[in-house]
Protein backbone atom coordinates (compact mmCIF):
# COMPACT_ATOMS: atom_id res chain seq x y z
CA UNK A 1 0.00 0.00 0.00
CA UNK A 2 2.65 2.47 0.98
CA UNK A 3 4.60 1.68 -2.18
CA UNK A 4 1.53 2.61 -4.20
CA UNK A 5 1.23 5.90 -2.40
CA UNK A 6 4.87 6.62 -3.24
CA UNK A 7 4.50 5.83 -6.92
CA UNK A 8 1.36 7.91 -7.14
CA UNK A 9 3.17 10.85 -5.65
CA UNK A 10 5.98 10.43 -8.16
CA UNK A 11 3.70 10.00 -11.13
CA UNK A 12 1.97 13.34 -11.13
CA UNK A 13 -0.36 13.80 -14.07
CA UNK A 14 1.14 12.30 -17.18
CA UNK A 15 -1.24 12.34 -20.11
CA UNK A 16 -1.59 8.75 -21.25
CA UNK A 17 -0.73 8.19 -24.91
CA UNK A 18 -2.79 6.09 -27.24
CA UNK A 19 -1.58 2.51 -27.63
CA UNK A 20 -0.79 1.31 -31.15
CA UNK A 21 -2.18 -1.91 -32.59
CA UNK A 22 1.17 -3.65 -32.02
CA UNK A 23 1.12 -2.74 -28.31
CA UNK A 24 -2.44 -3.95 -28.05
CA UNK A 25 -1.68 -7.27 -29.72
CA UNK A 26 1.36 -7.81 -27.50
CA UNK A 27 -0.70 -7.08 -24.39
CA UNK A 28 -3.44 -9.50 -25.44
CA UNK A 29 -0.81 -12.18 -25.97
CA UNK A 30 0.95 -11.52 -22.66
CA UNK A 31 -2.33 -11.44 -20.80
CA UNK A 32 -3.43 -14.80 -22.18
CA UNK A 33 -0.04 -16.33 -21.42
CA UNK A 34 -0.15 -15.04 -17.87
CA UNK A 35 -3.70 -16.33 -17.40
CA UNK A 36 -2.71 -19.73 -18.76
CA UNK A 37 0.23 -20.04 -16.41
CA UNK A 38 -1.98 -19.20 -13.45
CA UNK A 39 -3.71 -22.54 -14.18
CA UNK A 40 -0.88 -24.81 -15.32
CA UNK A 41 -3.03 -27.91 -14.94
CA UNK A 42 -5.13 -26.94 -17.93
CA UNK A 43 -2.01 -26.37 -20.02
CA UNK A 44 -0.92 -29.95 -19.55
CA UNK A 45 -4.27 -31.51 -20.47
CA UNK A 46 -3.93 -31.41 -24.29
CA UNK A 47 -0.38 -32.73 -24.00
CA UNK A 48 -1.46 -35.57 -21.75
CA UNK A 49 -4.25 -36.32 -24.21
CA UNK A 50 -1.73 -36.46 -27.05
CA UNK A 51 0.47 -38.82 -25.06
CA UNK A 52 -2.43 -41.10 -24.17
CA UNK A 53 -3.76 -41.31 -27.73
CA UNK A 54 -0.36 -42.23 -29.12
CA UNK A 55 -0.04 -44.85 -26.38
CA UNK A 56 -3.35 -46.41 -27.35
CA UNK A 57 -2.09 -47.47 -30.76
CA UNK A 58 0.64 -49.90 -29.73
CA UNK A 59 -1.94 -51.46 -27.41
CA UNK A 60 -4.64 -51.57 -30.08
CA UNK A 61 -2.56 -52.45 -33.14
CA UNK A 62 0.54 -54.35 -32.18
CA UNK A 63 3.64 -53.76 -30.07
CA UNK A 64 5.89 -54.62 -33.04
CA UNK A 65 7.80 -51.47 -33.98
CA UNK A 66 7.92 -52.53 -37.62
CA UNK A 67 4.13 -52.46 -37.86
CA UNK A 68 3.79 -49.34 -35.73
CA UNK A 69 6.29 -47.53 -37.92
CA UNK A 70 3.92 -47.88 -40.87
CA UNK A 71 1.08 -46.10 -39.08
CA UNK A 72 3.22 -43.75 -36.96
CA UNK A 73 2.86 -40.59 -39.15
CA UNK A 74 -0.90 -40.97 -39.26
CA UNK A 75 -1.16 -41.64 -35.54
CA UNK A 76 1.02 -38.64 -34.70
CA UNK A 77 -0.99 -36.27 -36.84
CA UNK A 78 -4.41 -37.48 -35.86
CA UNK A 79 -3.41 -37.24 -32.21
CA UNK A 80 -1.94 -33.75 -32.70
CA UNK A 81 -5.06 -32.64 -34.56
CA UNK A 82 -7.36 -33.86 -31.79
CA UNK A 83 -5.17 -32.44 -29.01
CA UNK A 84 -5.11 -29.04 -30.71
CA UNK A 85 -8.88 -29.24 -31.15
CA UNK A 86 -9.35 -30.06 -27.49
CA UNK A 87 -7.69 -26.82 -26.42
CA UNK A 88 -9.65 -24.75 -28.94
CA UNK A 89 -12.96 -24.76 -27.16
CA UNK A 90 -11.64 -22.46 -24.46
CA UNK A 91 -9.81 -20.16 -26.89
CA UNK A 92 -12.50 -17.46 -26.84
CA UNK A 93 -14.99 -18.91 -24.39
CA UNK A 94 -13.83 -17.33 -21.14
CA UNK A 95 -13.25 -13.97 -22.79
CA UNK A 96 -16.71 -14.11 -24.33
CA UNK A 97 -18.25 -15.01 -21.00
CA UNK A 98 -16.77 -12.18 -18.95
CA UNK A 99 -17.12 -9.45 -21.58
CA UNK A 100 -13.45 -9.16 -22.52
CA UNK A 101 -14.21 -9.83 -26.18
CA UNK A 102 -16.73 -7.02 -26.08
CA UNK A 103 -14.04 -4.69 -24.82
CA UNK A 104 -11.70 -5.85 -27.58
CA UNK A 105 -14.38 -5.27 -30.20
CA UNK A 106 -14.97 -1.76 -28.82
CA UNK A 107 -11.32 -0.89 -28.25
CA UNK A 108 -10.92 0.92 -31.55
CA UNK A 109 -8.03 -1.48 -32.28
CA UNK A 110 -8.35 -3.85 -35.24
CA UNK A 111 -10.19 -6.88 -33.85
CA UNK A 112 -8.56 -9.09 -36.51
CA UNK A 113 -5.20 -8.32 -35.00
CA UNK A 114 -6.31 -8.99 -31.42
CA UNK A 115 -7.91 -12.27 -32.49
CA UNK A 116 -4.67 -13.17 -34.23
CA UNK A 117 -2.78 -12.48 -30.99
CA UNK A 118 -5.11 -14.83 -29.13
CA UNK A 119 -4.62 -17.51 -31.79
CA UNK A 120 -0.86 -17.06 -31.50
CA UNK A 121 -1.22 -17.77 -27.78
CA UNK A 122 -3.09 -20.96 -28.59
CA UNK A 123 -0.22 -22.09 -30.76
CA UNK A 124 2.40 -21.15 -28.16
CA UNK A 125 0.52 -23.06 -25.49
CA UNK A 126 -0.52 -26.17 -27.47
CA UNK A 127 1.08 -26.28 -30.94
CA UNK A 128 4.61 -25.61 -29.80
CA UNK A 129 4.53 -28.01 -26.82
CA UNK A 130 2.98 -30.65 -29.09
CA UNK A 131 5.82 -30.18 -31.56
CA UNK A 132 8.29 -30.66 -28.71
CA UNK A 133 6.47 -33.72 -27.43
CA UNK A 134 5.99 -35.30 -30.87
CA UNK A 135 9.55 -36.73 -31.10
CA UNK A 136 9.00 -38.71 -27.90
CA UNK A 137 5.76 -40.14 -29.22
CA UNK A 138 7.40 -40.81 -32.59
CA UNK A 139 10.25 -42.63 -30.91
CA UNK A 140 7.81 -44.87 -29.08
CA UNK A 141 6.18 -45.68 -32.42
CA UNK A 142 9.44 -46.74 -33.99
CA UNK A 143 10.66 -43.59 -35.69
CA UNK A 144 14.43 -43.57 -36.27
CA UNK A 145 16.24 -41.03 -34.03
CA UNK A 146 17.69 -39.06 -36.96
CA UNK A 147 14.16 -38.14 -38.11
CA UNK A 148 13.13 -36.50 -34.83
CA UNK A 149 14.35 -33.00 -35.68
CA UNK A 150 12.33 -33.09 -38.89
CA UNK A 151 9.25 -34.21 -36.97
CA UNK A 152 9.53 -31.23 -34.60
CA UNK A 153 9.66 -28.87 -37.57
CA UNK A 154 6.74 -30.51 -39.39
CA UNK A 155 4.46 -30.60 -36.35
CA UNK A 156 5.51 -27.06 -35.43
CA UNK A 157 4.56 -25.67 -38.85
CA UNK A 158 1.45 -27.80 -39.20
CA UNK A 159 0.04 -26.80 -35.83
CA UNK A 160 0.27 -23.13 -36.87
CA UNK A 161 -2.23 -23.91 -39.60
CA UNK A 162 -4.32 -26.01 -37.22
CA UNK A 163 -4.53 -23.22 -34.63
CA UNK A 164 -5.59 -20.74 -37.29
CA UNK A 165 -8.25 -22.98 -38.83
CA UNK A 166 -9.44 -23.82 -35.35
CA UNK A 167 -9.73 -20.17 -34.37
CA UNK A 168 -12.41 -19.73 -37.04
CA UNK A 169 -14.38 -22.70 -35.74
CA UNK A 170 -13.98 -21.58 -32.13
CA UNK A 171 -15.20 -18.07 -32.98
CA UNK A 172 -18.20 -19.32 -34.96
CA UNK A 173 -19.34 -21.72 -32.23
CA UNK A 174 -19.17 -19.05 -29.49
CA UNK A 175 -22.33 -18.82 -27.47
CA UNK A 176 -23.54 -22.28 -28.48
CA UNK A 177 -24.20 -24.65 -25.62
CA UNK A 178 -22.18 -27.88 -25.72
CA UNK A 179 -20.32 -26.69 -28.76
CA UNK A 180 -17.53 -29.28 -28.58
CA UNK A 181 -18.88 -31.77 -31.12
CA UNK A 182 -19.98 -29.03 -33.50
CA UNK A 183 -16.53 -27.44 -33.25
CA UNK A 184 -15.00 -30.77 -34.28
CA UNK A 185 -17.48 -31.14 -37.13
CA UNK A 186 -16.59 -27.68 -38.46
CA UNK A 187 -12.85 -27.84 -37.92
CA UNK A 188 -11.82 -31.37 -38.86
CA UNK A 189 -12.83 -31.34 -42.56
CA UNK A 190 -11.06 -28.02 -43.01
CA UNK A 191 -7.95 -29.45 -41.32
CA UNK A 192 -7.70 -32.32 -43.75
CA UNK A 193 -5.03 -30.79 -46.03
CA UNK A 194 -2.82 -30.15 -42.98
CA UNK A 195 -3.22 -33.78 -41.97
CA UNK A 196 -2.36 -35.03 -45.46
CA UNK A 197 0.73 -32.89 -46.00
CA UNK A 198 1.89 -33.26 -42.40
CA UNK A 199 1.63 -37.04 -42.37
CA UNK A 200 3.38 -37.24 -45.73
CA UNK A 201 6.24 -35.02 -44.57
CA UNK A 202 6.63 -37.10 -41.42
CA UNK A 203 6.57 -40.32 -43.41
CA UNK A 204 9.30 -39.09 -45.75
CA UNK A 205 11.37 -37.84 -42.83
CA UNK A 206 11.10 -41.23 -41.12
CA UNK A 207 12.31 -42.93 -44.28
CA UNK A 208 15.24 -40.53 -44.40
CA UNK A 209 14.07 -38.97 -47.66
CA UNK A 210 13.66 -35.30 -48.49
CA UNK A 211 10.46 -33.93 -46.96
CA UNK A 212 10.84 -30.42 -48.35
CA UNK A 213 7.92 -30.59 -50.80
CA UNK A 214 5.17 -31.46 -48.30
CA UNK A 215 6.76 -29.15 -45.71
CA UNK A 216 6.52 -26.31 -48.21
CA UNK A 217 2.87 -27.14 -48.76
CA UNK A 218 2.33 -27.11 -44.99
CA UNK A 219 4.08 -23.74 -44.86
CA UNK A 220 1.85 -22.46 -47.65
CA UNK A 221 -1.23 -23.54 -45.68
CA UNK A 222 0.11 -21.77 -42.59
CA UNK A 223 0.74 -18.56 -44.56
CA UNK A 224 -2.69 -18.72 -46.15
CA UNK A 225 -4.15 -19.29 -42.70
CA UNK A 226 -2.30 -16.32 -41.21
CA UNK A 227 -3.68 -14.04 -43.90
CA UNK A 228 -7.28 -15.24 -44.00
CA UNK A 229 -8.22 -17.05 -40.79
CA UNK A 230 -7.99 -14.06 -38.38
CA UNK A 231 -10.35 -12.11 -40.64
CA UNK A 232 -12.94 -14.88 -40.52
CA UNK A 233 -12.40 -15.47 -36.80
CA UNK A 234 -12.82 -11.76 -36.04
CA UNK A 235 -16.03 -11.75 -38.07
CA UNK A 236 -17.17 -14.75 -36.05
CA UNK A 237 -16.38 -13.00 -32.77
CA UNK A 238 -18.29 -9.89 -33.86
CA UNK A 239 -21.29 -11.99 -34.83
CA UNK A 240 -21.22 -13.76 -31.45
CA UNK A 241 -21.52 -10.38 -29.73
CA UNK A 242 -24.64 -9.43 -31.68
Amino acid sequence: MSSHAATIAAAGHIAPGTAGAADAGRLVLLRDLKLAFRRPGQLIQPLAFFAIVTTLFPLAVSPELSRLRAVAPGVLWVAALLASLLALESLFRDDAYDGTLEQYALSGQPLTWLVFAKTATHWLLTGLPLALLAPLAALSLGAPPQSLGAIVICVGVGTVALSLIGSVGAALTLGIRRSGVLLALLTLPLSLPVLIFGARATELAMRGESFVAPLELLGALAVLGVTLAPLAAAAGVRISLE
Binding site: L172, T173, I176, L182, L185, L186, P189, A232, E242
Partner: protein, 245 residues
Protein backbone atom coordinates in the same frame (compact mmCIF):
# COMPACT_ATOMS: atom_id res chain seq x y z
CA UNK B 1 -27.32 5.19 -47.38
CA UNK B 2 -30.46 4.56 -49.33
CA UNK B 3 -29.31 1.15 -50.55
CA UNK B 4 -29.89 -0.21 -47.09
CA UNK B 5 -33.60 0.48 -46.87
CA UNK B 6 -33.87 -0.49 -50.50
CA UNK B 7 -32.56 -3.98 -49.80
CA UNK B 8 -34.22 -4.31 -46.45
CA UNK B 9 -37.72 -3.12 -47.27
CA UNK B 10 -37.88 -3.04 -51.02
CA UNK B 11 -36.52 -6.42 -51.96
CA UNK B 12 -38.32 -9.22 -50.12
CA UNK B 13 -41.85 -8.72 -51.51
CA UNK B 14 -40.42 -8.21 -54.97
CA UNK B 15 -38.27 -11.30 -54.72
CA UNK B 16 -41.18 -13.25 -53.26
CA UNK B 17 -43.46 -12.33 -56.14
CA UNK B 18 -40.76 -12.98 -58.71
CA UNK B 19 -39.95 -16.37 -57.20
CA UNK B 20 -43.60 -17.29 -57.27
CA UNK B 21 -43.94 -16.33 -60.90
CA UNK B 22 -40.79 -18.12 -62.05
CA UNK B 23 -41.20 -21.39 -60.14
CA UNK B 24 -43.58 -23.15 -62.60
CA UNK B 25 -41.36 -22.26 -65.55
CA UNK B 26 -38.26 -23.73 -63.99
CA UNK B 27 -40.21 -26.65 -62.62
CA UNK B 28 -41.74 -27.71 -65.91
CA UNK B 29 -38.61 -27.04 -67.94
CA UNK B 30 -36.54 -29.15 -65.57
CA UNK B 31 -39.13 -31.93 -65.59
CA UNK B 32 -39.26 -32.04 -69.38
CA UNK B 33 -35.51 -31.92 -69.83
CA UNK B 34 -35.09 -34.59 -67.19
CA UNK B 35 -37.40 -36.88 -69.17
CA UNK B 36 -35.56 -36.08 -72.37
CA UNK B 37 -32.24 -36.72 -70.65
CA UNK B 38 -33.47 -40.02 -69.27
CA UNK B 39 -34.65 -41.11 -72.69
CA UNK B 40 -31.28 -40.24 -74.17
CA UNK B 41 -29.37 -41.82 -71.30
CA UNK B 42 -31.18 -45.14 -71.23
CA UNK B 43 -32.29 -45.66 -74.81
CA UNK B 44 -30.29 -43.54 -77.23
CA UNK B 45 -26.75 -43.55 -75.89
CA UNK B 46 -24.73 -46.60 -76.98
CA UNK B 47 -23.06 -48.83 -74.42
CA UNK B 48 -19.47 -47.89 -73.61
CA UNK B 49 -16.91 -50.15 -75.29
CA UNK B 50 -15.08 -50.65 -71.96
CA UNK B 51 -17.70 -50.26 -69.26
CA UNK B 52 -20.66 -51.66 -71.17
CA UNK B 53 -24.11 -50.73 -69.91
CA UNK B 54 -22.71 -49.88 -66.46
CA UNK B 55 -21.51 -46.69 -68.05
CA UNK B 56 -25.09 -45.37 -67.97
CA UNK B 57 -24.67 -44.57 -64.28
CA UNK B 58 -22.67 -41.53 -65.34
CA UNK B 59 -25.92 -39.88 -66.43
CA UNK B 60 -27.02 -39.66 -62.81
CA UNK B 61 -23.62 -39.57 -61.12
CA UNK B 62 -22.24 -36.60 -63.02
CA UNK B 63 -25.33 -34.39 -62.53
CA UNK B 64 -25.53 -35.11 -58.79
CA UNK B 65 -21.80 -34.45 -58.38
CA UNK B 66 -22.22 -31.26 -60.38
CA UNK B 67 -25.12 -30.25 -58.14
CA UNK B 68 -23.12 -30.86 -54.97
CA UNK B 69 -20.45 -28.38 -56.05
CA UNK B 70 -22.67 -25.86 -57.80
CA UNK B 71 -25.04 -25.64 -54.85
CA UNK B 72 -22.12 -25.10 -52.47
CA UNK B 73 -20.72 -22.36 -54.67
CA UNK B 74 -24.12 -20.71 -54.96
CA UNK B 75 -24.53 -20.90 -51.20
CA UNK B 76 -21.13 -19.34 -50.55
CA UNK B 77 -21.72 -16.59 -53.11
CA UNK B 78 -25.09 -15.75 -51.58
CA UNK B 79 -23.54 -15.87 -48.10
CA UNK B 80 -20.81 -13.45 -49.15
CA UNK B 81 -23.37 -11.03 -50.59
CA UNK B 82 -25.40 -11.31 -47.40
CA UNK B 83 -22.36 -10.62 -45.24
CA UNK B 84 -21.07 -7.69 -47.24
CA UNK B 85 -24.33 -5.89 -47.98
CA UNK B 86 -26.30 -7.20 -45.02
CA UNK B 87 -28.91 -8.40 -47.44
CA UNK B 88 -31.63 -10.52 -45.90
CA UNK B 89 -32.72 -12.14 -49.15
CA UNK B 90 -29.17 -13.31 -49.85
CA UNK B 91 -29.04 -15.03 -46.46
CA UNK B 92 -32.39 -16.63 -47.26
CA UNK B 93 -30.90 -17.98 -50.50
CA UNK B 94 -27.91 -19.41 -48.65
CA UNK B 95 -30.18 -21.03 -46.08
CA UNK B 96 -32.23 -22.60 -48.88
CA UNK B 97 -29.18 -24.17 -50.52
CA UNK B 98 -27.71 -26.33 -47.78
CA UNK B 99 -30.24 -29.18 -47.46
CA UNK B 100 -30.53 -29.46 -51.25
CA UNK B 101 -26.76 -29.58 -51.65
CA UNK B 102 -26.31 -32.10 -48.87
CA UNK B 103 -28.91 -34.46 -50.31
CA UNK B 104 -27.34 -34.34 -53.76
CA UNK B 105 -23.88 -34.83 -52.31
CA UNK B 106 -25.22 -37.95 -50.68
CA UNK B 107 -26.67 -39.07 -54.03
CA UNK B 108 -23.35 -38.38 -55.74
CA UNK B 109 -21.57 -40.55 -53.17
CA UNK B 110 -24.08 -43.37 -53.52
CA UNK B 111 -24.06 -43.35 -57.32
CA UNK B 112 -20.28 -43.01 -57.34
CA UNK B 113 -20.00 -46.08 -55.18
CA UNK B 114 -22.44 -47.97 -57.42
CA UNK B 115 -20.51 -46.81 -60.48
CA UNK B 116 -17.22 -47.96 -59.03
CA UNK B 117 -18.38 -51.22 -57.52
CA UNK B 118 -18.33 -53.39 -60.70
CA UNK B 119 -15.04 -51.86 -61.89
CA UNK B 120 -13.21 -51.89 -58.55
CA UNK B 121 -14.77 -55.03 -57.19
CA UNK B 122 -15.42 -53.19 -53.95
CA UNK B 123 -18.08 -50.76 -52.77
CA UNK B 124 -15.72 -48.09 -51.61
CA UNK B 125 -12.40 -46.87 -52.90
CA UNK B 126 -10.48 -43.89 -51.56
CA UNK B 127 -10.70 -42.42 -54.98
CA UNK B 128 -9.88 -38.69 -54.92
CA UNK B 129 -13.24 -37.60 -56.30
CA UNK B 130 -15.27 -39.73 -53.96
CA UNK B 131 -13.11 -38.66 -51.02
CA UNK B 132 -13.55 -34.98 -51.89
CA UNK B 133 -17.26 -35.59 -52.25
CA UNK B 134 -17.33 -37.15 -48.79
CA UNK B 135 -15.52 -34.14 -47.29
CA UNK B 136 -18.00 -31.88 -49.06
CA UNK B 137 -20.80 -33.77 -47.35
CA UNK B 138 -19.09 -33.10 -44.00
CA UNK B 139 -18.84 -29.40 -44.91
CA UNK B 140 -22.58 -29.34 -45.61
CA UNK B 141 -23.32 -31.14 -42.35
CA UNK B 142 -21.15 -28.67 -40.44
CA UNK B 143 -22.92 -25.76 -42.08
CA UNK B 144 -26.36 -27.12 -41.24
CA UNK B 145 -25.20 -28.02 -37.75
CA UNK B 146 -23.98 -24.49 -37.09
CA UNK B 147 -27.11 -22.92 -38.52
CA UNK B 148 -29.28 -25.20 -36.45
CA UNK B 149 -27.47 -24.52 -33.18
CA UNK B 150 -27.83 -20.74 -33.13
CA UNK B 151 -31.22 -19.58 -31.91
CA UNK B 152 -31.15 -15.99 -33.10
CA UNK B 153 -31.98 -16.07 -36.83
CA UNK B 154 -29.76 -13.15 -37.80
CA UNK B 155 -26.76 -14.48 -35.93
CA UNK B 156 -27.38 -17.91 -37.46
CA UNK B 157 -27.42 -16.32 -40.92
CA UNK B 158 -24.22 -14.40 -40.42
CA UNK B 159 -22.22 -17.07 -38.61
CA UNK B 160 -23.11 -19.76 -41.14
CA UNK B 161 -22.33 -17.30 -43.94
CA UNK B 162 -18.78 -16.89 -42.62
CA UNK B 163 -18.48 -20.66 -42.51
CA UNK B 164 -19.73 -21.03 -46.10
CA UNK B 165 -17.17 -18.51 -47.35
CA UNK B 166 -14.35 -20.18 -45.40
CA UNK B 167 -15.52 -23.53 -46.78
CA UNK B 168 -15.55 -22.41 -50.40
CA UNK B 169 -11.99 -21.12 -50.07
CA UNK B 170 -11.03 -24.52 -48.70
CA UNK B 171 -12.83 -26.74 -51.20
CA UNK B 172 -10.16 -26.41 -53.93
CA UNK B 173 -7.38 -26.82 -51.37
CA UNK B 174 -9.00 -29.95 -50.00
CA UNK B 175 -9.55 -31.34 -53.48
CA UNK B 176 -5.95 -30.61 -54.44
CA UNK B 177 -4.57 -32.21 -51.28
CA UNK B 178 -6.74 -35.29 -51.67
CA UNK B 179 -5.67 -35.71 -55.31
CA UNK B 180 -2.05 -35.23 -54.32
CA UNK B 181 -2.39 -37.76 -51.53
CA UNK B 182 -4.12 -40.22 -53.80
CA UNK B 183 -1.41 -39.99 -56.45
CA UNK B 184 1.10 -41.16 -53.81
CA UNK B 185 -0.75 -44.13 -52.56
CA UNK B 186 -2.38 -45.69 -55.56
CA UNK B 187 -1.73 -46.72 -59.08
CA UNK B 188 -2.62 -43.59 -61.04
CA UNK B 189 -5.77 -44.77 -62.67
CA UNK B 190 -8.29 -47.42 -61.94
CA UNK B 191 -10.82 -45.54 -63.91
CA UNK B 192 -11.63 -42.05 -64.96
CA UNK B 193 -15.09 -40.61 -65.01
CA UNK B 194 -16.10 -39.60 -68.52
CA UNK B 195 -12.70 -38.43 -69.60
CA UNK B 196 -12.21 -39.34 -73.27
CA UNK B 197 -13.96 -37.56 -76.08
CA UNK B 198 -17.48 -38.94 -76.15
CA UNK B 199 -19.49 -39.36 -79.30
CA UNK B 200 -22.38 -36.95 -79.60
CA UNK B 201 -25.04 -39.54 -78.82
CA UNK B 202 -23.30 -40.16 -75.47
CA UNK B 203 -22.51 -36.56 -74.67
CA UNK B 204 -25.86 -34.97 -75.52
CA UNK B 205 -27.89 -36.82 -72.85
CA UNK B 206 -25.24 -35.89 -70.27
CA UNK B 207 -25.48 -32.20 -71.15
CA UNK B 208 -29.27 -32.37 -71.09
CA UNK B 209 -29.16 -34.00 -67.66
CA UNK B 210 -26.80 -31.33 -66.32
CA UNK B 211 -29.16 -28.66 -67.60
CA UNK B 212 -32.20 -30.47 -66.18
CA UNK B 213 -30.67 -30.72 -62.71
CA UNK B 214 -29.55 -27.10 -62.77
CA UNK B 215 -33.08 -26.00 -63.64
CA UNK B 216 -34.41 -28.30 -60.95
CA UNK B 217 -32.14 -26.64 -58.40
CA UNK B 218 -33.39 -23.24 -59.51
CA UNK B 219 -37.01 -24.31 -59.05
CA UNK B 220 -36.32 -25.80 -55.61
CA UNK B 221 -34.39 -22.71 -54.59
CA UNK B 222 -37.29 -20.46 -55.55
CA UNK B 223 -39.78 -22.47 -53.50
CA UNK B 224 -37.50 -22.68 -50.48
CA UNK B 225 -36.62 -19.02 -50.80
CA UNK B 226 -40.27 -18.06 -50.46
CA UNK B 227 -40.53 -20.09 -47.29
CA UNK B 228 -37.37 -18.51 -45.87
CA UNK B 229 -38.57 -15.02 -46.72
CA UNK B 230 -41.91 -15.65 -45.03
CA UNK B 231 -40.09 -16.86 -41.93
CA UNK B 232 -37.79 -13.85 -41.85
CA UNK B 233 -40.20 -11.00 -42.50
CA UNK B 234 -41.87 -10.44 -39.17
CA UNK B 235 -43.95 -7.36 -39.62
CA UNK B 236 -44.05 -6.84 -43.34
CA UNK B 237 -47.41 -5.53 -44.44
CA UNK B 238 -47.24 -7.31 -47.79
CA UNK B 239 -47.40 -10.79 -46.30
CA UNK B 240 -51.17 -10.98 -45.60
CA UNK B 241 -51.71 -10.01 -49.22
CA UNK B 242 -49.70 -12.93 -50.62
CA UNK B 243 -51.18 -15.37 -48.13
CA UNK B 244 -54.70 -14.81 -49.37
CA UNK B 245 -54.31 -16.65 -52.64
Amino acid sequence: MNWRWFHRLGSPPYVYALARRLTPWFGWLSGLSMLAGLYGALLVAPADYQQGEGFRIIYVHAPTAWMSLMVYTTMAAAAAVGLIWRMKVAHAVAASCAPVGASFTFAALATGSLYGAPMWGTWWQWDPRLTSELILLFLYLGYMGLRGSIDDPQRADRASAVLAVVGVVNVPIIHYSVTWWNSLHQAPTVMRFGKPAMPGSMLAPLLIMLLAFTLFFAALLLVRLRAEILNRERTASWIPEVLKS
